[in-house]
Amino acid sequence: MHGKALPYLLLMPATLFLWIFFLYPFALVAFEAVTRDGAFTLDNFRTMAGSWKFPATVRNTLLLAAIVVPIQLTMALLMASVVSRLETGRSAALYVFAIPLGISDLAAGLIWLAIFDQSGFLNTLLSSLGVVDRPVMFLGYQSKLTIFIAVALAEIWRATAIMMVILVAGMGLIPKEYYEAAEVFGASPWQRFVRITLPLLRPSLQTAIILRVILAFEVFAVVAALGGTNLPVLMGETYNWQFTLQDRNVAAASALLILAISIGFTLFFLRVLRVPKEARI
């Protein structure tokens, strides 16, 4: 009775939804970014870039991504390798490693605040070891470096799980025979990892890196919880333009910048880690 139309009927709600709440708002944000009071202008971008905080904002965001993502990639590969080689306790280890996946970035910021705060656990540990005489202020406005380190640690802690899960799924797709053959020819575990796992894992690596890099440019609540306004990042500044400064055109320009950086990096990693069709498993 409705043979041909049925798939379209089933897809319609989701498609309409994505048009209205995904594509249209992005067109809107792009429009708001390049207009002011209805007239085309690049002033919003000039205002954004002219803010005294702007250079630090861009630097902090990019630097954070550049430091956090490679460390996370290494840790995620380590976690995934450990999980796929464990025989007993595999699912327990998997669950524990995956826990941060469900934790909000705000909660992650608060968790690390408990550690880095002046009356927090790190100071307690340091003073009981006799390293410091009195509690150090790690997150004060004068200690940008320790704020940066705390934010980086919290980000590494929070978002490694997402990469780990993707990589574990990818490792599951690699045929066991390859490893057996390599073992027969005397390949060491490290050689097997470098020669078999890494190349065949490329599609998953690509997904994991892209997803993670985009999330890294969205860093917001972790910074808000740990550094307040002492460590400005792009998303936080966007929020400021919208709320504190009540200028949604500049906020839109700022959003567009984040978008442009994200898409730029996505295309970059799609190209660099390209997997030819015939090389897929």
Binding site: L18, S104, T124, A251
Partner: protein, 281 residues
């Protein structure tokens, strides 16, 4: 003769054993890295306000409910909790309601336009979606959706819908189409066959992706903070009171965010890989 042959075998066995220990030690170390920060937050949440601000800190909770009861009775918290649950529930319903039919259509039909729909869904992942909240804030004011639970739930659905589509797609793909065809030959209509044969089989997986959608909404900070003023969710409430609220309020709030998330992740642990594994392709 036999003594000579035994040595390399024993050496290999020794190396294996050492490798096993190294593996287990690494697994434990990584587990501690994930769990310790959460434990420290819980210690804070289960200590009295005085203990939270005191120095040095104790590394064990005193099981004093002072912080938690202060948090629950703090003006606005109960309402924020309720809003969080409401928004997350709406998100869950919308994401599954729109996503599951699309997933079913993708798994069962071949039709022109299938590729472009998949592209639309995958494209959402190259975009920093929380930024959508900025243009939508204006759209919502015009349509009266501003500062409502449903308005925020619509934005959160954009985050959760792609996952719902991809997860249900793989779920339905995993159920043999022959089962459905058998039901048709026995006189079921398409809908009856779906409801009586496919749905019961897919239900656990659908429930898992619903929980996943709930978690995404529960944890989201940026859009929630942008779109709600009076009806703030817990994350928005905590974010906006970061500046002035005392430490024990922050930590109790953090724990209130984390504990449900732990339960959610535990509930869907079996499906984590299915979800991310598929989201790969």
């Amino acid at each position: 003769m036999s003594a000579v042959a035994e040595t390399p075998v024993a050496a290999v066995a020794d190396a294996r054993k050492a490798g096993d220990w190294l593996l287990i030690a690494t697994a434990i170390l990584l587990g501690v890295w994930v769990l310790l920060p959460i434990y420290l937050l819980i210690v804070n949440a289960l200590s009295s306000p005085d203990q939270v601000t005191a120095f040095p800190k104790r590394f064990f909770p005193s099981f004093d409910l002072g912080s938690l009861s202060f948090f629950i009775n703090f003006a606005g918290v109960a309402r924020a909790l309720w809003n969080s649950v409401l928004v997350a529930t709406l998100t869950m319903i919308l994401a599954i309601g729109f996503g599951a039919p699309a997933g079913y259509a993708l798994s069962r039909f071949d039709f022109p336009g299938k590729g472009s729909f998949r592209f639309l869904v995958l494209m959402t992942r190259a975009f920093p979606l929380p930024l959508l909240a900025l243009p939508l804030a204006v759209m919502f004011i015009r349509t009266g959706l501003d500062d409502t639970a449903i308005g925020l739930a619509l934005v959160h659905t954009t985050l959760a819908l792609p996952f719902a589509v991809l997860i249900t797609f793989s779920l339905f793909s995993g159920i043999p189409v022959e089962l459905e065809e058998a039901a048709w030959t026995l006189g079921c209509t398409r809908w009856q066959a779906f409801r009586k044969v496919i749905l019961p089989l897919a239900l656990p997986g659908i429930a898992a992706s619903a929980v996943f959608a709930f978690t995404i909404s529960w944890n989201e900070v940026f859009a929630a903070a942008v779109l709600t003023i009076e009806n703030r969710t817990l994350t928005a409430f905590l974010l906006q009171s970061l500046g002035e609220s005392p430490l024990y309020l922050k930590f109790a709030g953090g724990a209130a965010l984390v504990v449900p998330a732990l339960i959610f992740i535990f509930a869907v642990r079996k499906y984590l890989f299915a979800m991310w594994g598929i989201a790969n392709r």
